[in-house]
Point group: C2
Chain length 104, copies 2
């Protein structure tokens, strides 16, 4: 669909993309982790897009199997949510992914 194409293009063209909800603390946590690492992700607040928000969430669920926020992509690859991203960081695997994606 048109929206699916838009998501594929967005995650392909931006090193780090976070689909988020502005009032969600898990979304805030992952956004601030990237800030601390000197990365400026493209953040899309699903609750600030009107009717397109829930539509985008359905597309993300179709593309990634994940209906929850935050939904994180690095270098076009689907990473997962907050706990997934934090776990990668703890294992020292996040920064190599960010460098590979030219995010820093």
């Amino acid at each position: 669909s048109r929206l699916e194409e838009a998501v594929r293009k967005t995650v392909a063209e931006n090193p780090v993309v976070v689909y988020s909800k502005s009032w969600c603390s898990y979304s805030s946590e992952v956004k601030s982790l990237f800030k601390r690492l000197g990365v400026d992700p493209l953040v899309i607040e699903l609750d600030e897009l009107g009717p397109q928000g829930p539509q985008l969430q359905k597309v993300l669920e179709r593309l990634t199997g994940q209906h929850t926020v935050p939904n994180v992509f690095i270098g076009g690859q689907h990473i997962g949510g907050c706990t997934d991203t934090v776990k990668l960081h703890r294992n020292g695997e996040l920064e190599p992914l960010l460098s590979e994606a030219n995010a820093k």
Copy 2:
């Protein structure tokens, strides 16, 4: 108001009360902290009460100054949110509060 009385009564009559949202990970985190401590809180899911949910949230904001979830009470006292509860636990101050409130 009637709703304000209901909240005061609920927090006075139950050792631990958590006003929560069922899909919120911070709410889940504080609920599972209490489970790990052997405490069975009274959990009120604000998103499962229809129109009363937002009304209750307004009352909680008036009574506690806090509009966010989770909103935690122990022994009738307002504790705060998830980070507040976790911080008390880390400082060894949560368990004494729970014992005092006969929550365990």
